[in-house]
Symmetry: C2
Subunit: 228 residues, 2 copies
């Protein structure tokens, strides 16, 4: 149930750093062993090889992996990895890097579940930094903050959760935990900024924002056995 990171350049390395921080097991593949020295000694699983080859992906455990991150610097290579990975394990989640805008569509057609373009999101972040600096600070706090321990968490409501078949107002989540439901994913629909009258249903994925303690309290509340 691990993640395979293909490519240990600046982008792939950042993926690995983030997975480390979140204690998610991963293996990183790169054809250059000397890239490890560049980053200093680290305790990590590394395979020296070409991530485009079936054998290398098999060696990285693609048959039982949860996801593949295709972060090679060339879009054509990432298209190839997406096709290979989905061929070897159709259930695997593939996140691919695109450098050129026109590659995005090709990556999705090759089977990628999500395409990320560092240049596009970097450029947008720069524009937003000029226009709405406080909002950038807020977004970066939500996404990356370690000091304040603020985070977004995803919580799926099981059928027997005491929160189901209540409105947000009735569930009193904010009052009881301090955490805030910022969005609800229901099937294909994303309900952003849900109203107090919004009904919570079994299977809803709640996107919840708060401190670590608030989120833990929220998870406990969501999973408590329902009162008869």
């Amino acid at each position: 149930n691990h993640i395979i990171v293909c490519g240990a350049g600046r982008v792939g390395w950042q993926v690995a750093e983030q997975l480390s921080k979140d204690d998610v097991p991963f293996v990183i593949i790169d054809s250059h062993i000397d890239i490890l020295q560049q980053y200093g000694q680290q305790n990590l699983l590394f395979i020296q090889g070409d991530a485009r080859e079936d054998d290398v992906l098999r060696q990285a455990g693609i048959d039982h992996a949860r996801g593949v991150v295709a972060a090679l610097p060339t879009d054509a290579d990432n298209v190839y990895i997406a096709l290979t990975a989905k061929g070897l394990n159709p259930d695997i989640l593939v996140v691919a890097r695109a450098d050129r805008m026109e590659s995005e569509d090709k990556l999705y057609r090759a089977g990628a579940d999500k395409v990320v373009s560092p240049a596009v999101i970097g450029g947008r972040r720069m524009a937003m930094s000029i226009l709405k600096p406080a909002s950038v600070e807020y977004v970066e706090t939500v996404l990356h903050d370690k000091e304040h321990e603020i985070d977004l968490e995803e919580i799926v409501l099981r059928e027997h959760s005491p929160l189901t078949n209540k409105t947000l107002a009735e569930a009193q989540l904010r009052e009881k935990t301090g955490a805030m439901v910022v969005a609800i994913r229901r099937g294909q629909e994303l309900i952003s900024n849900p109203r107090a009258s919004q009904m919570l249903l079994p299977g809803d994925l709640l996107i919840v924002f708060g401190t670590r303690n608030q989120l833990t309290a929220f998870e406990l509340l969501a999973s408590a056995p329902k009162k008869p």
Copy 2:
């Protein structure tokens, strides 16, 4: 009161696209005129020249510009632009791109107000896409959504705003507008996920999340003359 975008590569171009969408006036500087053909005909102010030169930045109107985006592909060039821009106009806002992690500190010391690394935020976004795909969808909706017209807005409370010296609960912003205060910037402090008991003070910068209509209603409410 315009923005100067230095560099029309993939990152700089994305900045320009975003500024266009938000109807913010800007001029773009690049030494290669042929870059314009690459993107097709567009109605934009373009200066062919070296953005590291005082004369070129002066020609771009640096003395009365609101901000400079240093998006050249080489970090050393962006350091140089930051120093030059702040030298020519100490009040200007400088947002700089960093490709290498070790440049970040140098860019801040050169006077940049904000440094953005596309590789770092791209890698983080990729990791988050594997671990919390619905949260990524939510964040991207907030930041870039055009279809649902959902956005973050920054609203400064003036002294005579009817919202000042009330708690969030008393102000009934959510009930009256549908928009949600997700954070408050007060001086150096960022209050994320403020509680209902939080007092609103003159000078507070509210970060508000909602649809276009909700945000407009919020702005009207915040700027209405105070009842005696």
